[in-house]
Point group: C2
Chain length 309, copies 2
């Protein structure tokens, strides 16, 4: 099941959506676009660049239409946009989005809190989204609370696999991403769940993992997922965002830390670490942001060191 | 090679030596003793409580004699004291130390920088230390730069195994600890080296790992070592100390983060997390210290959460 080191991994930069959405002061659209350009130039070809949601709920992302348009002008960029239901999916497609990220939680309590629906209703939304999409529009499904729920604790593997059964039935070609919403997953838990999912769906050869670093286990969990064959990893530059449930703590794993780990291991990510560090240092200074991650400080102003593995 | 979950792991709290030594303002001896008492009461039975070194080099640890005496009065505590050579080993034994930690680097450049000797000379010192110790005095050997050297980069596995050969010859009953001095080791590197060491020395059933979290890989590396059978892990409460080579970054893995990870995995450490968090929060406030770690912030003032895995 393990992945050959020669096989590259794909990073999905979620900072411009997951990181920015929790920042209070509005980030000017031009600033957002500048970050997108620099992240893409650093080699991050996949970026979650916004959400189609109520601008009342997430005012920071209210300029998503302009962001979709701007992304079309950025060479090599494959942006993805989060949608909570089929209606917003239609809006996103109308705006020109070509990759949609649909979110559903395994936990009923979390799904109701997040999108005000039973998970079964969300599966129905996903089916409608898939049915209505034009040719060429791709869908990724983020499976939230796949390990642990902030309301109900540890999530049973069988509950995750049951939801995956239903999602694969309605969205057979969707990319599937298991999300450690609370950050409480441990490496053994991550490896076991992905191994079980890969065994259940042998036809799906590419799995994604959205780790959180809230309790310091982000990289450990990403490594555990990689060991059992996961090759797509979400992360946010400067470690921005990702943790609404642990005030004072950060959530997303810093993209630069993930790039560092894989680079030290000799696994290709396609990302220029020095270019990314430059963007991440600016991202960490965004007013109202809560940056996380380690290597910006560890590498200081020295850039990536010449000695070392 | 992997360890059964039912087998407990042993944590060695190194904050009172490795954490305190880099703090400029002198920590009053009574304050140090109070930390030692509280750490022991939290269940940390093994604590690296000081060093017998030149007080000029490390003035913070100049009260080590008083610390040795105080440790005798702390119930259940098994303190260990670092010594750089046989002469200081004799001083430590005279002061009443019963567990000595001898340090030698695989890298000649690092060993010369650290103790002004070629590694072969240090092996000779180790032999003299072992020969001179009275019955009942235990020795642990910390093998520094076992993965990477701040001066010369990645360290070859064969160089580590060669040094271990010589150390095992002169100190067959010593506990061996491989140290990631720079924090640049990755989980695959850690697993491979410990697996090779365990294969080379099948008679040694207990191995220790001193990880650093400088680049965020501390827990990932500890988990990797645990997977291949390592059961003894160094860590420092509040993540104090450990990183002289990356200014602005912290080095030691926070003991509370390690306890958290193993607790979430169902692996026993014998440590009361809430009691440890209380000590770690105070340790993080030590003037002149550079705290690290995640769960103090993530758990906020709520202590360990009732929901979760």
């Amino acid at each position: 099941m393990s992945v050959a080191k020669s096989e590259p991994v794909t990073l999905v930069e979620v900072g411009p959506r997951d990181g920015f959405q929790g920042i209070g002061p509005f980030i000017p659209t031009e600033t957002k676009i500048d970050f997108l350009k620099r992240l893409a130039a650093a080699g991050l070809e996949r970026i979650e660049a916004g959400s189609f949601v109520s601008p009342t709920a997430l005012p920071q992302l209210r300029d998503v239409g302009a962001i979709v348009a701007a992304c079309r002008e950025i060479p090599g960029l494959k942006p993805q946009f989060l949608v909570p239901n089929a209606r917003y999916g239609a809006t996103a497609i109308e705006a020109g989005a070509e990759v949609l990220v649909f979110v559903v939680s395994v936990s009923e309590a979390h799904n109701r809190s997040n999108v005000r629906r039973h998970p079964s209703e969300s599966v129905g939304e996903c089916a409608r989204l898939i049915a209505a999409r034009p040719a060429g529009v791709e869908v990724r499904v983020d499976v939230a609370t796949a390990f642990d729920c902030p309301f109900t604790g540890r999530v049973a593997e069988s509950d995750v696999l049951d939801l995956l059964d239903r999602l694969v039935a309605v969205a057979p070609d969707a990319e599937l991403c298991l999300c450690d919403t609370t950050g409480k997953a441990t490496p053994d838990h991550v490896a076991a769940l992905f191994a079980a999912a890969r065994e259940r769906f042998p036809e799906k050869d590419r799995w994604a993992f959205h780790a959180h670093d809230t309790y310091g286990l982000g990289l450990a969990n990403i490594h555990a997922a990689w060991r059992v064959g996961v090759t797509i990893f979400d992360a946010a530059f400067a470690g921005l965002g990702g943790c609404p449930f642990a005030p004072g703590a950060t959530g997303n794993v810093a993209t630069e830390d993930v790039v560092w780990m894989f680079r030290q291991m000799g696994v290709e990510t396609g990302v220029d670490l020095d270019a990314l560090l430059s963007v991440a240092r600016d991202g960490a200074l965004l007013p109202g942001g809560t940056p996380g991650g380690r290597i910006r400080d560890a590498l200081g102003d020295r850039g990536s060191p010449t000695c070392g593995a």
